[in-house]
């Protein structure tokens, strides 16, 4: 293979081309992959990329790889893959087409490679042209003092009529609830129940359902009802202990009733 390459090199490559190819080897690190290298090699042919001799290019490339091997340069795998592919391409281009073989012809493959090289070069030129344009911050400038739109974060406050009425209701009934502001919401306490019941039990000459001593507004919500019931019941037990009231229940789950303890008063 190397011999063959050498042969073709002698035939098809001028000395200067070979020297150029060899010079590139030293620089292998600066190439961005095989396509980049191929483009550099193609430029040494000094012809339009469309007229480039793919056979010659393949040979230049193979010579490059050969040289790298001699210099014991580690070539990345993709360079070797490209070398194998170019060797294949070259044989396709040089040998008469084998009618039994499928796939694209050597000419088609070569044309595509030429297209790729041409496209890469076109993109490089485009990139250079782009960077040569007038650029913001280098050739033209934006306003130095951006009076950037003052972002007025306008907060619009809103409220509904319901909020308003509830707010008012809250204030107008505040007196009743004022002492309890710091209490846990939804939780009635025994202390509160006691406070509520003490002034009332004086009037409880008759048996009255304990439910009557539940705080206003605590029915309806299951959780609050439960809490208020427990608190009221606990308070009633406390009052019994203090000897202030009597407690009775007709049967299981019947209403619990209380009455002022008659003994003391009478």
């Amino acid at each position: 293979m190397a011999e063959q390459t050498q042969l073709f090199n002698d035939q098809k490559m001028s000395v200067s081309e070979r020297v150029a190819a060899e010079a590139l080897v030293v620089d292998v690190g600066s190439f961005e992959g095989p396509l980049d290298l191929l483009l550099s090699l193609a430029r040494t042919q000094k012809v339009d990329l469309l007229q480039i001799s793919m056979v010659a290019l393949a040979e230049q490339y193979l010579a490059f790889v050969e040289k790298a091997k001699q210099l014991r340069l580690e070539l990345a795998a993709d360079y070797l893959v490209m070398a194998a592919w170019l060797a294949f391409l070259k044989s396709r281009l040089l040998l008469p087409p084998d009618p039994t073989e499928d796939g694209p012809s050597g000419e088609e493959l070569a044309a595509h490679l030429a297209f790729q090289l041409e496209r890469l070069e076109a993109m490089r030129n485009a990139a250079a042209n782009l960077m040569a344009r007038d650029q913001k911050g280098r050739d033209f400038f934006v306003r130095g003092v951006p009076e950037d739109f003052e972002r007025v974060r306008k907060v619009r406050y809103t409220a509904t009529l319901l909020d308003l009425m509830q707010g008012y209701a809250r204030i107008r009934t505040k007196d009743e609830f004022r002492p309890f502001v710091m209490d846990r919401e939804h939780v009635d306490t025994m202390e509160r129940a006691l406070e509520r019941m003490r002034p009332l039990i004086g009037f409880a000459r008759e048996w009255t359902d304990l439910v009557m001593y539940m705080p206003d507004g605590w029915q309806g919500d299951a959780m609050r009802t439960r809490s208020a019931t427990a608190a009221t019941f606990a308070a009633s037990l406390e009052l019994v202990k203090e000897g202030k009231i009597e407690l009775r229940q007709g049967e299981t789950f019947a209403p619990i009733q209380i009455r002022r303890k008659a003994v003391k008063d009478d």
């Binding site: 739109f149 007025v152 907060v155 909020d163 509830q166 309890f180 710091m182 846990r184």
Partner: protein
């Protein structure tokens, strides 16, 4: 250097300049230079500094004067700041420079209560509001409501000190869909509407009335902070 000569090809004005390599550029060109420099500069630029940056022999003071005339009555004007110059947008257009992002927030409990008291009792003095609320009314709350154009000053009370009163505005009535403040439901109606009975404890209404179970734990703390 090459920049300059290339540049002259770009603008026809500059061709004339070429003949006069040793003369200063035309005044029209000097005006352009001043314009570009002032536009791009992050700070006001003095005449001295302009002189330093412009080609030799320029008369920046004259160029600045020409530029100032050119911008007269425009959306941008040339301002003198100390002994330096800067291009700034015309002050009468400053309203265009604001980008409003409106964020809708619920009014604080203090504000709602104050507003409610004013609505139900107007005209009412600040002292009277405080008496009803049982806490002092912060200046901020009143200011906020005035700024929202929901309340405004009413006439002064003919009591000692002639305190100002507050009343609600048409804007307020519009917002709440009321024809007049007298349309506000009375206490009795509030009660029959269940607003008094089923009232949430203080603080709860502020967050969300509908789901009282959620804010069990927060409420006590919230209460501590809400009152100003």
């Amino acid at each position: 250097m090459t920049d300059e000569t290339e540049a002259t090809d770009l603008t026809p004005d500059e061709n004339e300049q070429e003949d006069s390599l040793f003369d200063a550029p035309h005044m029209a060109e000097q005006e352009r230079m001043v314009e570009a420099i002032l536009f791009a500069s992050t700070e006001p630029v003095t005449i001295r500094e302009l002189e330093k940056r412009m080609p030799h022999g320029c008369n920046p003071a004259q160029a600045v004067a020409m530029l100032a005339r050119r911008y007269e009555g425009r959306g941008v004007r040339l301002n003198k700041i100390g002994d330096a110059w800067a291009l700034r947008t015309a002050p009468d257009l400053s309203y265009l420079m604001q980008k409003e992002t409106v964020e809708v927030r619920k009014l604080s409990r203090a504000a709602i209560e104050t507003l409610a008291i004013i609505a139900y009792h107007q005209p009412i003095t600040r002292a009277e509001i405080e008496e009803i609320r049982g806490v002092s009314v912060s200046r901020g709350t009143i200011d906020q409501l005035i700024e929202m154009e929901w309340i405004r000053f009413g006439r002064r009370k003919m009591t000692p000190g002639r305190p100002v009163t507050f009343v609600v505005t048409q804007e307020f009535l519009d917002h709440f869909g009321l024809e007049s403040a007298r349309d506000l439901p009375g206490l009795k109606e509030l009660r029959s509407a269940g607003l008094l009975d089923n009232r949430p404890p203080p603080g709860a209404g502020q967050i969300d009335d509908r789901d009282p179970d959620d804010d069990d734990d927060d409420d006590e703390q919230a209460d501590l902070f809400i009152e100003e």
